[in-house]
Symmetry: C2
Subunit: 156 residues, 2 copies
Amino acid sequence: MKEKEQFMRRAIELSIQNIKEGGGPFGAVIVKDGTIISEGVNRVTANHDPTAHAEVNAIREACRKLDTFSLEGCEIYSSCEPCPMCLSAIYWAHLDKVYYAGAKEDAKAAGFDDAHIYEQLSLPASKRDCPSEELLGEEALKAFNVWKASNEKVNY
Amino acid sequence: MKEKEQFMRRAIELSIQNIKEGGGPFGAVIVKDGTIISEGVNRVTANHDPTAHAEVNAIREACRKLDTFSLEGCEIYSSCEPCPMCLSAIYWAHLDKVYYAGAKEDAKAAGFDDAHIYEQLSLPASKRDCPSEELLGEEALKAFNVWKASNEKVNY
């Protein structure tokens, strides 16, 4: 447990340091075999990238370092409960486990309303705030047919 | 409608071209005031980045071009219904509307099971496949307190 707390303290330390460097109050580290292999902080406004959350940045960096698109065998320590974008990225990256410190209620009180997006995702598309519309569905099937017939496809 | 179909045909064209270039069968374009300002394709396995979906790449590129972290006033055309990571990114980026061609059922039949992640997100954390554990919650509050007291914070 002491080792886990050290990893989390590093994620929290990153989150505080990042505020001083013009970023949001979030940090994350990814650990494999007891060693930190990547660190990430929230650079949304600083880098003009709405996807630059701490967890996403840590995942990108870990994949660069390990030269892979799968982080099986790794765990992520985040200074706050992941938002739905980050949690989905954690699934796509096949991370083994999430440790988090701050609760999403704390994030909300600080102005980050992840809960709203969680609610939106659980609604049918027709009931979401952001409207969506199907267009040329039949034409899109061609891409999947080319994909299924391709010998070079890599599944993930 | 004809203009909208042109944008979607471009997204579909990108998705097919991308398969030949070693990527996944997904493409997206972002449009502002009737002009395409960015394009994205799925480079997950090609670039070793699990977050490099077509929509995420198009969002990052649009923000770089417009030098902003908010895409209010823009619409995204995706060759397939966005996965929960991409839909969350669309919310964080404040896009006005989503047009999609392929349905998530088509994506599933081609081996991309976004529906599983949608289901996981709607479950309480304790019931998800990817386990999560709270650790040092009290210590994390410090970051939010520093944030709330900061004069330099930029909300998004």
